[in-house]
Symmetry: C2
Subunit: 256 residues, 2 copies
């Protein structure tokens, strides 16, 4: 008897976040109180499907690493079935270089949360802020997503504390939350910040979020170049910053 080798799962919705690109996205969820909205594909958007969810404070999201380069190349643009192909056993790479280990040391892909894994699925616990119904369609407002804008959602489950929250768990090389660096603004960036706020491109409540994201030092760990500037996009702004002696300096803030 032929054993199935793959399963096909539907995309039930998309997660909208202020993360325009992968650079700047925290490496794990809930490190910064970034806001996101989940919009569902019909028929998964009907309010009845969410009845009872309001009693839960947190959710699990199972989502697709859709910005995975290998997967992109596997997607045929003329594919009328519009189904992404799965990575093949032939393309399997057993080891990856996690950014937390400086990008030099290799570890097994199953010892990591890397996107380059057989099933390109991510797993994130986020806070449920509120459930909104617009024109009969559900929109979930969430806090803390570590996802790029437009990420396809595969499943959504309530977080059940008594089985999911294992506070005694030992977590190998990723045991500690990442270091938080001090963030400073140059005079020029401060002035641009005020301009963008008065123009309505940036809002005041986004400032601590942008600072919080930069405080995690979004650079790959193997890049520690005090002379180099880096760019991060967040919602409607571009941020240019540098890092010197562990301090993050915001140098420029412009509209995207």
């Amino acid at each position: 008897m032929n054993q199935p080798t793959h399963i096909t799962v539907p995309i039930i919705g998309h997660v909208h976040t202020p993360f325009v690109e992968k650079f700047g996205v925290p490496r794990q969820p809930n490190l910064v109180d970034v806001e996101g909205v989940i919009e569902f594909v019909p028929p998964y958007d009907q309010p009845a499907a969410f009845e009872g969810l309001e009693g839960f404070s947190h959710l699990w999201l199972i989502w697709q690493f859709h910005q995975n380069r290998e997967l992109k190349s596997l997607t045929k643009p003329d594919d009328s079935s519009a189904t992404k192909l799965a990575p093949t056993p032939e393309s399997f790479r057993a080891q990856i270089r996690p950014p937390r280990l400086g990008g030099n040391e290799k570890i097994g892909v199953f010892a990591s949360r890397s996107m380059y894994r057989p099933a390109p699925l991510g797993l994130s616990a986020v806070k449920l802020d509120r459930i909104e119904v617009v024109d009969g369609r559900v929109r979930l407002h969430i806090i803390g997503p570590d996802l790029v804008d437009g990420t396809p959602l595969i499943d959504l489950k309530p977080y059940i504390a008594y089985s999911d929250a294992i506070s005694t768990a030992v977590s190998g090389f990723a045991v500690e939350a990442p270091e938080v660096h001090p963030v400073y603004w140059t005079r020029a960036a401060l002035w641009q910040k005020h301009q963008l706020i008065s123009l309505g491109v940036l809002s005041n409540h986004q400032l601590p979020l942008i600072e919080g994201l930069l405080a995690l030092d979004p650079r790959p760990a193997y890049q520690d170049d005090a002379l180099r500037d880096y760019g991060m996009s967040y919602d409607r702004v571009n941020v240019r910053f540098g890092v010197q002696s562990g301090e993050i300096w915001i140098k420029e803030l412009t509209a995207r």
Copy 2:
């Protein structure tokens, strides 16, 4: 442009547990210290892919609800591609009756961990006991799986305490771990137990596990019939039991 509506993910292995059938499987992982073994499909079984995993105490398993009745009917036995079809939007049912609510009250499928969901994926945190390599192939020994024997595994991730363990999470109707009932043996069952142990069908360390599973009262919540007996299979034995005034009575123990 056509948006993809589905993704295809590989089955990377299978989880072997003493749970011959769904009846008796705890409703969440880690309630009973049942042992399981994960065997991987090549090339996902190579030791390099697991390097570094030994530093983690717990794992996330993302697995397929393969005993889902609807999915079974969607699998064509003559399908040479051996790929299971995904549930269609047309077959989507927005609400389910969770056993914890007595089987009468309905809630939204996304407020539950029910198997009858768009993507038939389960999520379980289990303890990593040890990593074994047999003939160059990895076998993971785990503790606490809430899975039927042979469950297809889709992904395996390390449990990262600082982002996954949200001890303050509020969990709606499932906030408390299930009640633990006292378990008693009838004289006949005690005698059969000794027989089966001396025959080597049952081992002493399995006894507290069988008692632990029965203590969770595996019956559907809407069946509270003191006159009725129930059967549960565990590894190589069948257990017949009844429930009276909240007490579990083991009445018969036979070899499967």
